[in-house]
């Protein structure tokens, strides 16, 4: 592998209130690729995603051990401020969650927080164009973001995320609340975004993972002997083509072919 990884995950363990949720995850993520995280419900996909921008810090009782190196630096090191991580690792959530503010204020939010000094109108336009939303909203920038359709709201959330000029965008099932047309718009957009950004996307949808991603990580739930405790493990992480045509692990194959999950 020639390129330096954007993220290197080593021995990552996550638990919520003492209950393990994710065990022993290790993976390298190359920049400017789309990485899909797939697996059955509750196997820890969101948990893993939220480790990349330290969103798990916000959950009381969440405990993370191991290393997540971001451009070679451990983001869980003691002297790292999670706020600075989140400025370069953006996130788009499962349900579109625009602020109850105008379209412009939504996009400008992150820049204002960060004390952006440049031309705000330009930034807003650039971000909305980047999220393929500009043409639809350019005449209504002062309208409430809540007046947009679900698909538009989700693209607004993407515009809002890229307005802070991150280099990575985390997406947690970004299209699961959208109709097929809006979904395909988001998928097209992802292909454009990957020119500039590393994208890690959690998805429930196998076809979507196969369509959009370069590499795929398959997580699966492991259960202990008593059947009481369950946690997620990384079963397989490989090129998407390989995962979908010729997986190494039986569990991956069963999941891909719809035998469970």
């Amino acid at each position: 592998m020639s390129q330096e990884p954007a993220f290197s995950v080593r021995d990552l363990h996550v638990s919520y209130g003492g209950q393990p949720a994710l065990k022993d995850v290790g993976m390298d993520i190359e920049p400017c690729k789309i990485i899909a995280v797939i697996g059955p419900s509750g196997c820890g996909k969101s948990t893993l995603l939220r480790c990349f921008n330290r969103m798990n810090d916000l959950i009381p009782g969440a405990k993370i051990t191991g290393e997540v190196l971001y451009n070679g630096q451990d983001i869980y090191a003691k002297d790292v401020d999670p706020v600075t991580i989140r400025r370069s690792v953006g996130m788009v959530f499962q349900r579109p969650n625009p602020f109850p503010k105008s379209i412009r204020d939504n996009v400008a939010y992150g820049a204002r927080i960060n004390g952006y000094k440049g031309n705000m109108d330009e930034l807003v336009e650039r971000s909305l164009r980047g999220a393929a939303l500009w043409d639809e909203v350019k005449d209504n920038l002062n309208k409430s973001a809540l007046s947009l359709s679900g698909g538009q709201q989700q693209r607004l959330c993407i515009a809002r995320a890229i307005a802070v000029e991150p280099d990575t965008i985390l997406m947690d099932e970004p299209a699961s609340a959208l109709d097929p047309v809006a979904t395909s718009k988001i998928e097209d957009l992802m292909q454009e975004l990957k020119e500039k950004y590393t994208i890690i996307i959690v998805t429930h949808n196998m076809q979507q993972a196969a369509r959009v991603s370069d590499k795929a990580a398959f997580l699966y739930t492991e259960v202990n002997e008593t059947g009481k405790a369950r946690w997620g493990i990384l079963v397989e992480y490989d090129d998407t083509d390989r995962i979908f045509t010729n997986p190494r692990d039986k569990r991956t194959e069963d999941y891909i072919s719809g035998r469970f999950g």
Binding site: P60, F93, F99, I113, N114, C157, R160
Partner: protein
């Protein structure tokens, strides 16, 4: 199978086998129940409306004849027996004291609610604050008056600040609890969106949480203001009263609408009693304005749309 499902076991496309008589009776029963429920509901609504309507009617009937421009702009004559004059000194006193009380209780109350929702979750201190807020909401306001009387009036004398302190203590728990409810309504997703953009906790609170909850908080504040504007007993003990306009904050007793209504109603002379009626009407209108403002604010509530 078909016996178990009764009539629907027959051909459902044609309704064959469904007794027409049975359909009729069930329909009839449903209609009767519907009408009965409707009558009951209207009856209950009317019962609630009657006392409200009567209050409005009597206060308007008794107060309107005296309520003129002079009443709204003049202070009371020295003698209760004399006609003319008005309660403008009371209106000014009420506005000063309620305004001061709001100035104290709103920032404190909203900050307290922010603590409860955003910082104190599950901590013993938050439980204690919440418990005492509930207790304070239920404490008779005359106790609050007595407390301020002992704590402030005995050492410093009657005055606007003392009255405002009593009103602020009455308003505080209302502001805390209503703001807390509104802050709790702010979706976690919005806060997460803010954090994910690199905002800190305080930035998230001031730029997302508070603006989102602001209309609801305003509603709570207005209701607290309306409640404070009508308080009488604590003001008798802390502001006492006055016959003219007072703008000094400490060391001089100050009038207020509810206390003027109280003293006017207690006095034996018709002129004083008529002024009390007009004062009651003025107070009612004032409270109505605050309640109306609260309604307007809550209709702007983005979370409830």
């Amino acid at each position: 199978m078909s016996a178990f499902f009764g009539d629907s076991g027959s051909d459902c496309r044609t309704n064959e086998g469904v007794s027409p008589l049975k359909v009729r009776t069930t329909q009839k029963r449903r209609i009767i129940a519907d009408v009965a429920a409707r009558v009951g509901m209207w009856g209950a609504t009317l019962m609630v409306m009657i006392p409200i309507f009567l209050i409005f009617y009597y206060i308007a009937k008794k107060g309107l004849p005296t309520m003129d421009w002079e009443f709204l702009t003049q202070s009371q004559p020295f003698s209760m027996r004399a006609r003319g004059g008005g309660f403008v000194h009371g209106l000014i006193g009420t506005l000063i004291m309620v305004g001061l009380a709001a100035l104290i209780s709103v920032p404190l109350g909203v900050l307290g609610a922010i603590y409860l929702v955003e910082y104190g979750k599950g901590r013993p201190l938050a439980q204690v604050v919440r418990f005492f807020s509930d207790v304070m909401t239920g404490v008779p306001s005359v106790f609050v008056g007595l407390f301020v009387y002992t704590a402030l009036v005995i050492p410093y004398g009657f005055g606007a600040v003392m009255g405002a302190a009593a009103l602020a203590i009455i308003m505080l728990p209302i502001v805390v609890r209503s703001s807390e409810e509104m802050l709790k309504l702010v979706p976690r997703e919005l806060k997460e969106a803010s954090y994910a953009l690199g905002a800190g906790k305080w930035q998230t609170i001031t730029r997302v949480v508070l603006p989102t909850a602001a209309p609801g908080i305003t509603t709570g504040v207005m209701l607290a203001v309306a409640r404070a504007a009508g308080e009488t007993a604590p003001l008798i003990l802390t502001a006492l009263g006055s016959l003219e306009i007072v703008t000094k904050m400490v060391g001089e007793p100050i009038a207020s609408l509810p206390v003027l209504v109280f003293t006017g109603a207690r006095n034996p002379f018709p002129a004083g009693q008529e002024r009390a009626w007009a004062g009651a009407l003025e107070l009612l209108l004032l409270v109505l304005v605050f309640t109306l403002l609260a309604r307007i604010a809550s209709s702007r509530n983005k979370l409830q749309q």
